[in-house]
Every structure is written in C-alpha cells, then in structure tokens.
C-alpha cells in the first residue's frame, strides 16, 4: 500500500452517515459495519477519490495526531476494509 494509492468502492457496498458515524452495508453478504467519527471522515475522503496521501493530509489538518501514527492507522483501516471487500485498492 502506498500514499499514492486510491480506493474504489464496489457497487455492492452502500454507506450512510448516521450522526457523526457511518453505516456500511455489503449487499453481497447483507453484513453491515460501523465506522466511528474518524473512520467515517476517512470514508468520506476516500469516496471523494482522494489518494491515501491526500486523505492523511486532510485528517492531519482536522485532528491532533502524530503523522506517523495517523498514516499507520489509515493504512490499517484501509487494509481491514479491503480485507472485508468494502473497498478495492487502486495502485497510484
């Protein structure tokens, strides 16, 4: 995974904002997942087509966090989302 990578959201995945959180539904398995407010913000940025690097930069502006830790957390969450088929990595 690189900072220039983007993600695509598969057609069978739907999301809806619930307050500051987000519900993600995988229609293929009828399984749904929840993202906390930070995860929900990451989802919005990724679904706008931003690269992982641009997403990290935007989150750094919005939250007080060490850049290295943020990058680790973003990569970890994207890896988990990809593992569950909720996003597909598009190498940049």
């Amino acid at each position: 995974m690189k900072l220039t990578d983007k993600v695509a959201i598969p057609a069978q995945v739907m999301a809806r904002q619930v307050g500051e959180e987000t519900v993600i539904l995988d229609l293929a398995s009828s399984t749904y997942y929840g993202l906390d407010p930070v995860g929900a913000r990451l989802w919005v940025l990724l679904s706008e087509g931003k690269t992982l690097g641009e997403t990290c930069a935007a989150l750094l502006d919005e939250y007080e966090v060490e850049p290295a830790r943020l990058e680790r957390d973003v990569f970890g969450l994207v890896d988990e989302l990809a593992g569950r088929g909720l996003v597909a990595l598009e190498p940049g």
């Binding site: 619930v18 500051e20 539904l25």
Partner: protein, 360 residues
C-alpha cells in the same frame, strides 16, 4: 410550567412528548426536559417500540443536545439509528431490484406505507424505520408478482388469516408484504387498488402512491389494522402524517371524495382526530367534511379520549372490533359488508393462491 404550551389528553401525554421532533411547533426543548426529568428507561422503551428512536437521535444530534439526555439513553438512540440505517440500506436496495424485476415482467406496482412515505417526508429516509416493505399490485398480477419475488430469492411465508388480501415474502432481513387489495375485501365500498396503482408516481428509483393517495392510506389503514390508537399503532405513522402534510401537496377535497366513495369517512375522521389530539395539523374544513353524525362523533371521541383501544387491546380485543371498528364504517350496510367479507375470508383461508410457492 409554561401555561401557553398546548397539551394532549392525559392518556396521551407520553405520545405527545414522543412526537415532539415531528410536530411543527418547536416544543422539543420542553419535551426533552419533561421526558428525561425522571426515570428515562420507560420513555426510551416507548420511543423504540414506536419507531421514533432514530428521529430523536437526529433531533438531539442536530441541535448538539446529546448531553441533555442520560448517557445510556444516548447510546440506545445511537444504536437504534444505526440499526435503522442498516436496514434501510438493505430494504432500499431490494426495492430497487424489485423495481427492475417487475418492470422487466410488466408488473405494475406501487410501494405503500413506511417504505414509500419515508423517501418523501423525511430529511433522511433512514430516520423512519420500517419492519417490512409494503407493495401493492392489482389482483390480476398477484401471482406473477409472487413468482417474480420467489424467483429473486424470496421465500413465501403463508399466513392464512391475511391471504384474502396480502402475503409475506422474506429474504434474509428483508420482508416484502405483497398486497393485492388495499384492505380485507369488504372493508371498503369499492376496491381502489387498481386506481391507486394507476395513479402511482416515480419516487427515488421506485414507484409509490400519489401524494393524496398516500394520505388516504395513512388515515384508513390504521383504523382497521391498528384499532386507531392501540399499542399496535406505532407513532412513527403519526410522524409520517405530520411530515407528509407539511411537505407534500395533498388534495384534501379529492381525498374527501375518495373517502366518501369508499365509505371510509368515519374511519378517516377518527384517525385524523387522534392525529390532531397529538398535535398534527389537520385542516378543519376537511375534518368537517368527513365528520360522521353528532352521536357517532361523541361515541368515537369517547373511545379516543380515554384510549379504550389500548385499555382493552389485550383483555378484550373482540370488544374493540364490535364496539369500535364496526362503527368506523359509514353506514350499517358498510359494517355488514365488512363482517361478511371477514367471514368469507375466514372460510377461504386455506385457498392459498401461492401454495405452490411455499417452501416444503
């Protein structure tokens, strides 16, 4: 206490508080104070049972008032909104699939009740939970519609008591209630199902009822299926009416004519009057137009204001059917026809048009 605040009859005080986020009058702040002044658990249970949890979550969240309710209540509301959003996503995806499926097979349908109303009445349709998705087709297309649903992976769930007018099809967490009669045959003077389908309009990727027909169902369906104000009548239906009548263009004169033709003036008057007791804005001239005679008005008001359908719901349901819902028909002949229709449906409850579709 602020004396200027309107109030519902004592029997409906909790209902009144629960509907605060849906009422036009901005009395939510007082409702939050009153509802959470004491023990919040019972009020929370009431909100959830009435499908109002997500609406309250949104109302508090949008005003940054989460701190005004106990933390456990916040968490419960959050979970209810989360669950409603997840089920909404599933239901709306299935409804759009069914739309394509029915279009391909030439089946004319319309979504009715919650799954339809929420798309047009609410800022966010997922704020309005719906246990199932109700759709209506003409009786002549019911078998084709049922076959299409089974072909799309739904399982038919036989229910002999309702087979005269509706049937349920289930796939995972999504239930489709397929209706081919607006009511149990005999309830209304004329069957309006085909007319409702003919007047359908396109809504957010599927077909739904026209603005006025949607109100026709809101004011008549709960009269017979929910005994107007019994515990079966989730208050989210009252919220639907409040939002819908503020946001949609209802032809009240046309609605009154439809109610007159179907013999359902009294049913709609009773439901409207209960909605008005809870703070809904019902046009006075419409209410006057559909009002039954003075004696029946007094009788039905007596039932409503004391909430007798709730009091007798578990102990004496037959008393409600005989003493209340029969009086919701406009004429004795209408009530007689409804009883005959029920008897006929009871005798034919084993004549299942979808028997071949039931899983072994």
């Amino acid at each position: 206490m602020n004396q200027a605040r309107p109030a519902a009859p004592l029997a409906f005080r909790t209902h009144w508080l629960a509907l605060a986020p849906a009422r036009a009058a901005d009395d939510l702040e007082h409702a939050v104070e009153d509802a959470f002044a004491g023990e919040a658990t019972a009020f929370m249970a009431f909100l959830l049972a009435n499908g109002l949890g997500p609406l309250w979550h949104q109302a508090l969240h949008s005003r940054q008032w989460q701190g005004r309710v106990p933390p456990e209540a916040q968490e419960t509301l959050n979970l209810s909104r989360f669950a409603a959003a997840a089920l909404y996503l599933l239901q709306s995806a299935e409804l759009r699939r069914i739309d394509h499926l029915f279009a391909a097979q030439g089946i004319a349908y319309a979504a009715i009740k919650g799954a339809h109303v929420r798309e047009l009445a609410y800022d966010d349709p997922s704020l309005r939970p719906a246990d199932d998705v109700d759709i209506i087709v003409s009786a002549g297309q019911r078998v084709a519609a049922a076959r299409a649903l089974v072909g799309a992976g739904f399982h038919y769930h036989p229910a002999p008591d309702n087979i005269s007018h509706e049937a349920s099809f289930v796939k995972g967490r999504v239930t489709i209630d397929l209706h081919w009669n607006t009511f149990r045959p005999g309830r209304s003077r004329v069957d309006v199902t085909d007319a409702l389908v003919a007047r359908r309009v396109r809504v957010a990727g599927f077909w739904g009822l026209s603005d006025t027909d949607a109100v026709f169902l809101m004011l008549t369906h709960p009269a017979f299926f929910k005994y107007v104000c019994s515990p079966n009548m989730a208050l989210c239906r009252v919220a639907d009416f409040m939002f819908w009548t503020r946001r949609r263009a209802v032809d009240w004169a046309g609605l009154a004519a439809l109610l007159r033709d179907t013999g359902l003036n009294s049913a709609a008057w009773t439901v409207s009057s209960w909605f008005a007791l809870l703070g809904a804005a019902v046009p006075a001239d419409f209410l006057a137009q559909i009002s039954p005679g003075k004696a029946r008005v007094r009788y039905l008001r007596y039932w409503l204001e004391r909430d007798l359908p709730t009091q007798w719901f578990k102990r004496r349901p037959l008393l409600i059917q005989l003493g209340f819902t029969l009086f919701l028909h406009d004429r004795p002949a209408d009530a007689g026809r409804a009883v005959c229709g029920w008897l006929r449906a009871y005798r034919r409850r084993r004549d299942d048009p979808f028997a071949a579709l039931a899983a072994p």
